[in-house]
Subunit: 552 residues, 2 copies
Amino acid sequence: MANGAQALMKTLVDAGVEACFTNPGTSEMHFVAALDSEPKMRAILALFEGVATGAADGYARMADKPAATLLHLGCGLGNGLANLHNARKGKVPVVNIVGDHATYHVKYDAQLQSDIETVARNVSPGFVRTSKSTEALCQDAVDAITAAKGLPGQVATLILPADVSWGDGGQPCALPPQTSPAIADDATIQTVADAVRTGKKTALLLGGRALREPSLRAAAKLAAHNGIKLFAETFPTRIERGAGLPAVERIAYLAELATLQLSEYENLILVDTKPPVSFFAYPGKKSYLVPESCNVNTLATPEQDAAASLNKLADALGAADTEPKLQASARPGRPRGKLTAEKVCKALGHLMPEHSIIVDESITSGLMLNALTAGCPRHDILTLTGGAIGQGLPNAVGAAVACPDRPVYALVGDGTAMYTIQALWTMARENLNVTTIIFNNASYSILNIELDRVGAESAGAKAKSQLDISSPVTHYAQLAQSMGVHGVRVQSTEELLKAMEYAQSMPGPHLIEAVVPESLNGVKRKVLPWLLRTLPSLPRSVSTTLKKKIAP
Amino acid sequence: MANGAQALMKTLVDAGVEACFTNPGTSEMHFVAALDSEPKMRAILALFEGVATGAADGYARMADKPAATLLHLGCGLGNGLANLHNARKGKVPVVNIVGDHATYHVKYDAQLQSDIETVARNVSPGFVRTSKSTEALCQDAVDAITAAKGLPGQVATLILPADVSWGDGGQPCALPPQTSPAIADDATIQTVADAVRTGKKTALLLGGRALREPSLRAAAKLAAHNGIKLFAETFPTRIERGAGLPAVERIAYLAELATLQLSEYENLILVDTKPPVSFFAYPGKKSYLVPESCNVNTLATPEQDAAASLNKLADALGAADTEPKLQASARPGRPRGKLTAEKVCKALGHLMPEHSIIVDESITSGLMLNALTAGCPRHDILTLTGGAIGQGLPNAVGAAVACPDRPVYALVGDGTAMYTIQALWTMARENLNVTTIIFNNASYSILNIELDRVGAESAGAKAKSQLDISSPVTHYAQLAQSMGVHGVRVQSTEELLKAMEYAQSMPGPHLIEAVVPESLNGVKRKVLPWLLRTLPSLPRSVSTTLKKKIAP
């Protein structure tokens, strides 16, 4: 007869949950022991929980099904919280299995006792459950998986007391048939179509699953037929792009630029996203970035089928047979000269193979990435959906586990890399095809901008030292080597290209530490003009306004 | 006129909060900018929030007053949760300042928006408050500091919206006079004294602040006068010990051994602690470790003055003028031969200077530490109070900031070290006098024991691989060097001694990676006899029972 853990393992595997990112402790030992009872379950050990949760996020973004995490009580969940936050904001399905003390042990308030459900609610508002008995466990698991997988995807947390896990009488359960998501109803189609037909300047803002090929193609028909502009949300969970797919312009991170991007639109149609708001609030600046005069309609919510809704709208507007405009093939040339963050992006655009997966947590260093890879062979980009840094390396682990035949590039800032640096060890252990590029500018560069932007101009020495991580400078190549990952430090563009070509030729993980100057210094004079280059399609009138605004 | 952040900074400093362990983001930029307005505030940057919170914990254990942390919204708090849990369990005062979005920005549910108060309640059940206005901010801060500092110490969380921080009209507030903690009342003294007078076999179990010198001396008078045994709780927040102080025996981690230690006592008197329970539950084993026939009385709760209560009891029992028995001076000899974890502890006992601070997170490797340092010059040991691993390195950072003139040793297992390895960078940046010793046995050694203990004996290859961190082996010396810390890898006892002597001769941080075999393999045959050596005072009758029990 199966114990709880063994029945749970079978339930998970039968429901298609075949990867578990783990950082177990004593209370999870029966779950660990049950791993061998299910050959289909792959267990990937992490040395820190934030790696496990970020990997589960990255896995699900690419596999389109949830992985499980295995975490050790409330503190393990706490360590994994930041990357679960990113998954929540990206509407990514994740099933957390959080071990807990045996039910009868809770009252003794032993060292690791804490209120796990409370912590879990922060990232799993839709599903937190402590399994009460071995008999109930597998149905609880099925409910958790169902909650995680349903649209919009979410993080579900199942708390597993040790005695529920070790108890006898576990009965595996099967997942019920999944229902298909709804399509936008006729009234919504009518409203949106009418708005388009007014002839007013219209943009579609695509988010979530609407940034995958089926939705992109449908949206591109509308763009071609009705002159609608296509925008993508600022931080896509996963965007499919490259030569042969429709191109969409991402809304900028800086509110000042996003406002400009949106300034001329009178109609905004939302698909699986919300109206753009600024990432942070700034004194005296607006949080809501859509022009007040702009008419906003939602075509499809995150609960709905974005592609089918877009196709239904295309039908209504007579765009069904329109040829969408597709991105032409175009790689940047081989970069030369002094190494900069931009050259790193250019080198990636120059070299990256088809079907690459780019995990982009490069913050300021990767601002040219989109422009420089737009015409590359088809690829996916995964981004920092929830703003909780430390997502890049773990996401790359998960993406590589989900797609072992695809090259994964993790572009990571030096500040962000350190939050979940332990991911390198898992890359080495699992021999994952991940090439990590660390932009080492020895600074929390984004904060130097933000310090200005929030109006705290008169920063003194102590304040500035809080944004300066140059003393000591971290040597990432050496750090990678210490965890078994091939690491090189490059200081010239030639060295970078050589290292990237070497990484392409050798399976397994690589880390390239690119020593680059800060991309952005002194926001007022340099950043805005520089960023303008990242938005090639900005309306000319806007460019003119902007140029006046930023003139010295 | 001061803005909120500036007034807050003055309030903190005036209340004696003079260290802030930081990992800020945009929403904290005004707090960061205000650092320069208060020369007394020292800001210590961490590359990961778990380092900041663990450092605040270690600081307060040694400084006996709280430090502040500066954390970035709910995700930053999440990353810091595990070490705040350790602080909570250790009753250590910490004041968290958690930045949040501007109050008017919350409704837009921007990327980093999450329910911060919910997360905070896990570690700050006694004080969580979101400051509502710049005018209210400093009183909120005073309330947080008061809550943190009052006995028992606790973690207080003050959530600081960006607009409350940048708003004008901040008015610094002063801390009200602190009240003295209560002393055990006459009835309690009477009850406890009566229990002692029965002549039954009696033990005092000391925890929390009762492990500092004043309480230890009072307890030792009772021990000498009334034949009372002195026990310390398993994981002391801070224990003062060494030659010239009374010695106390710590309750063992393994429930089997703790049960043996307590087996002969008929009276148990608690001072600033709870009755011992097992760390985890195990199938078929008891959680509550005190014999059922034992009479348990509480002399002083964590809210009360432990030393004064013990002295009052000593008065009642006529022990006030008794000479307490003190630990004799005795260092172990210079170790020789094959390097083992025990030899590392012996080397430390042989070499460590007076007033050393030992942060012990060595898990299985440090089991002989107490025995081998008992007669060393006076020192303090800080331990893993809440069981959330990743406490050692950050605690050492905080202890070194609090006590710049005292050598700090962090003894850390290779598994635990990786949770907050970023602490090394802060040690280098601040040039802290911390010598870290990593016991590299390439295993989650404790889990190999626990896998057996929970009854999951039939572990297969996948299960065992979850406890094996030998592929790849992490090179900690190299890892330390990558973050600017002098690191050496030692494989012999001679090399170890040389490295320790070098570290003593050179200020600043050092890391010694000691390559050791697993201390414990195969619990049934070896561990219990081995552990018996850690409990020199175990009653002979118990030893005999035990020897029979574990005979092959």
